[in-house]
Amino acid sequence: MSTPANIGYLYAGILVAAGFVFVILATTVSGLLSPHNPTKEKLQTYESGETPIGSAWVQYPLGFYIYALLFVAFDVDIVFVISWAVIFKQLSIFGFCEIVFFIVVLAIGLLYAWRKGVTRWI
């Protein structure tokens, strides 16, 4: 009998099922066998030996957000610079001028943000 074309999916399915069974089995068995003796210290969040202060659900200062925003704006635009750099020689002088214009526009944007005091830590 020849092997069917989709036999790979069967193997993968068996592997996935076996994985699920193993994990479920291991957690239930350990839950049944282990002793239960919770104390306050044991239930605390582990922060590398420090005592945690306050809740983890605090609001971060808006300063972080604005930095993230500036980062994203420049980070994503690097995509264009890299794809330009790959074929730098083919594009010659026109490509160079275009990318310089692109970066100048971004720089004016940064200048604007800087002058408006966005980069000052609030």
């Binding site: 026109f94 526009v105 200048l111 604007y112």
Partner: protein, 497 residues
């Protein structure tokens, strides 16, 4: 490959970008509004000059930058419209900005960037650049809606606008993706060529059509994608509202018609396209007009009125598509009527909005009843605003009448009599609600007696708009002479090859 003449064809947009950057830098170093406004207004001469130069030396459609930029009469027509909008906006917003918005420089910069996007939307022949232009138009609009920092309504409007706008562009993009998959190219001429060989009954074509119409439906605020418009028009600062109502709509139609006609989507599966657009047009007409009739806030009324106006334009588009497979020259008369309608609508709506900005600034209210008896208090403003409203309603002596007549006759001749009848009935409703404002302004007793004096920039704007409207009324044939070849130039790429 790239040539220097390509830069000349792109010069209006490039110079406008540079102007916006200059205004942005100036705004950093001076706080004087008059400097910023003057620079914006004077700087507009450069792009206007380039457009005029291109129009005068026009010899035929040209493409540049790997066919991304198409300079034909159609794109020149729309570039003129958008530059008119920019100039009007600088004047009309001047006083409002000083009074309500602290970020004056930002308003001008955002407005100029948005106008660049609009001009590109009308003059690109390629899906990627249409998308980029669309987003360049939209992002500044989102920010402009939220510029009234002290008002919660304004922030709310901005949030709604940005979420719905992003959703609509995602839907539009999915349509673009299907179009690209069907034809293997994003170049509209290439798409038009490969659509020639498509037969009827290709489901993917229909899905792509529907997605594209839905995506642009948001931008032109056509029912059932209109629900953002009234909220955002009410919440946003009034000059920004005026800008949305004319700019975003004209640009949306410019790109939609460019894709549908120049991109040759009508060559395959015309019937579903016409049915979908026709249903959208009818719903837009009916809901826009009837909802406008029950509003009490004047900005919301103008929002529904601008939805209704989109309905009339859609009638013209549908009419063109109906005939497009049989007779290009006849079909282009529909687009010519649409172009004329858009030009008149832009001038009229800007005039009406500057009138409303002025009157609500002076009276301090945005309800229709706040406008009682303004005839006795500020005759010039009242007369100009009323003329603009009459034109929107399509009452005979003014240009709005001709624009409606052209659309209706074109649609009738191209074989859509039912749409014309529905549109006619709806315009009768529209006379009621435009007339109500005029009646309140002229015949009701004023609340107070003292005279109202409008600031000079606003009264200049509204007088200019009204004058432009009257001039348009006189030179109807001249404008039509420009609109007819512009409409035909959309078909030119298909006829020529």
């Amino acid at each position: 490959m790239f040539q220097l003449s390509d830069l000349y064809l792109l010069a209006p947009e490039i110079s406008l970008v540079l102007l916006a950057l200059v205004v942005m830098v100036i705004d950093l170093f001076t706080k004087r509004r008059i400097v910023i406004a003057t620079v914006s207004l004077v700087g507009l001469i450069v792009p206007v000059g380039f457009v005029i130069a291109q129009a005068v030396t026009y010899t035929g459609p040209r493409t540049a930058l790997f066919r991304m930029l198409v300079v034909d009469q159609y794109s020149l027509f729309f570039r003129v419209i958008f530059l008119i909008i920019a100039a009007f906006m600088v004047l009309a917003s001047y006083n409002y900005l000083g009074k309500y918005i602290k970020a004056e420089g930002e308003f001008y910069v955002l407005m100029l960037f948005s106008v660049v996007g609009m001009m590109l939307m009308a003059s690109t022949g390629e899906l990627i650049s249409i998308y980029i232009a669309l987003e360049l138009t939209s992002f500044p609009l989102y920010a402009m809606a939220g510029l009234l920092r002290s008002s919660t309504k304004s922030s709310e409007a901005a949030l709604k606008y940005v979420l719905l706008g992003a959703m609509s562009s995602a839907i539009l993009l999915y349509g673009f993706a299907l179009l690209y998959g069907l034809t293997g190219t994003t170049d509209l001429q290439g798409i038009a060529q490969s659509f020639k060989s498509f037969g009827n009954g290709n489901l993917m074509v229909i899905v792509a059509d529907v997605l594209i119409i839905a995506g642009f439906g948001f931008k032109i605020s056509a029912v059932p994608f209109h629900m953002w418009a009234p909220d955002i028009y009410e919440g946003a600062p009034t000059p920004a509202t005026a800008f949305f109502s004319v700019g975003s709509k004209a640009a949306g139609f410019a790109a939609l018609i460019r894709i549908l006609v120049y991109g040759g989507l009508w060559q395959a599966d015309l019937t579903p396209l016409i049915v979908v657009l026709g249903v959208v047009a009818v719903l837009t007409l009916i809901l826009g007009n009837f909802a406008a009739a029950v509003q009490t806030n004047i900005k919301r009324m103008m929002a529904y009125s601008s939805i209704a106006q989109a309905g009339y334009i859609l009638v013209g588009v549908v009419a063109t598509l109906t005939m497009s497979q049989k007779n290009h020259t006849a079909a282009s008369s529909g687009i010519a009527a649409v172009l004329f309608f858009i030009l008149v609508y832009v001038v009229t709506n800007l005039g009406a909005f500057s009138g409303i900005i002025a009157l609500s600034n002076l009276t301090g209210g945005e309800k229709i009843e706040d406008f009682r008896g303004l005839w006795h208090r500020s005759p010039l403003l009242t007369v100009c605003t009323s003329l603009c409203l009459l034109s929107l309603a399509g009452i005979p002596p003014v240009a709005g009448f001709f624009s409606k007549v052209f659309i209706f006759t074109a649609a009738w001749q191209l074989g859509q009599p039912w749409l014309v009848i529905i549109a006619l009935l709806c315009s009768i409703v529209s006379i009621v609600y435009y007339g109500r404002i005029i009646k309140v302004m002229f015949f009701d007793a004023p609340r107070k007696e003292e005279r109202l004096v409008a600031p000079i920039s606003l009264s200049t704007t509204i007088t200019l708009a009204t004058a432009a409207l009257l001039v348009l009324t006189v030179i109807v044939t001249v404008v039509l002479d420009a609109a007819n070849p512009a409409a035909l130039s959309l078909f030119a790429s298909l006829l020529g090859k």
